[in-house]
């Protein structure tokens, strides 16, 4: 019979932030925490980037046309943040070294149109989305 453990919070014993889980095939064990997305944002607001849905995101800053910046509620441990971004239809989303670049508490983005210039999400685009991986402070 399947067992279900109902609990609100999990902590490691040796280290509160480190819990090991077994792989699907049973061949390995590895960290649960490191495999979790630490923040994500999706917004259909194509100009001001007010979050439609988010996790561990306190707010978005609209620095200029095509330059949204994600502000984290809980900061990362360092600036080695692995990010995945989507600017939607006819937009390439990338990181940006301007507007503060990547810090432990924020991540600056740049959206580029097919004309290779800064542009907000296209009117026919769904929105802007991003997820962030790494270690929290």
């Amino acid at each position: 019979m399947a067992s279900i453990l109902k609990v609100d919070e999990l902590r490691g014993i040796a280290s509160a932030g480190d819990i090991t889980v077994t792989s699907e095939g049973g061949a390995a064990t590895q960290s649960l925490q490191q495999g979790l997305a630490k923040a994500w944002i999706f917004t259909t607001d194509k100009t001001a980037y007010v979050p439609t849905g988010s996790f561990n995101v306190s707010s978005m800053t609209d620095n200029a046309v095509g330059r949204p910046e994600t502000n984290f509620t809980n900061s990362f441990n360092d600036t080695n943040i692995v990010g995945s971004f989507d600017g939607g239809y006819n937009r390439l989303a990338t990181n940006y070294t301007g507007d503060g670049g990547i810090t432990t508490s924020s991540f600056a983005h740049y959206l580029i149109s097919t004309a290779s210039s800064a542009a907000d999400v296209a009117s026919t685009g769904v929105g802007f989305g991003a997820s962030y991986l790494g270690d929290l402070a």
Binding site: R11, V21, T22, A27, V82, L133
Partner: protein, 132 residues
């Protein structure tokens, strides 16, 4: 009252398999690769290293292998040296193995030199699926 469970390892009831994370799944490996100069794995999880196979051609190797070669991958490429230049990353033909993932970075089709492999300095990668 909120309950807190202190535990080091979680397994299924048999002690040999994974626990179910209801309606969610963890990422099994990720990395940030700087492909310029001497290739560098800046940060990673469940990665044993990266290999420079040639211009823009990178192999990301795993510590714990995936259980098959049909896992989901997210790859991207940017050139941070130019401030905000988006590049392209694509899976190398036949490059999806259980223990590694090979991909190629380079210019997007709407930039000068479109479709050309090039070493880029900001290449995030993440893999999802079942581990062996």
């Amino acid at each position: 009252m909120p309950s807190v469970l202190n535990v080091d390892t979680l397994t299924d009831a048999a002690g040999t398999g994974p626990v179910t994370l209801t309606k969610q799944e963890a990422i099994k490996a990720y990395g940030m690769v700087d492909g310029t100069g001497t290739i560098n794995l800046i940060t990673s999880f469940n990665a044993s290293g990266v290999t420079d196979n040639g211009t823009g051609d990178i192999t990301f190797s795993l510590t714990n292998s995936m259980s098959n070669t049909t896992y989901m991958f997210m790859i991207d490429s940017h050139n941070e040296n130019t401030g905000h230049s988006a590049r392209n990353a694509t899976k190398y033909t036949g490059g999806q193995a259980a223990g590694s993932f090979r991909f190629v970075t380079g210019y997007t089709n709407n930039t000068s030199g479109g479709g050309t492999a090039y070493d880029e300095d900001f290449n995030p990668i993440a893999l999802m699926g079942d581990l062996a």
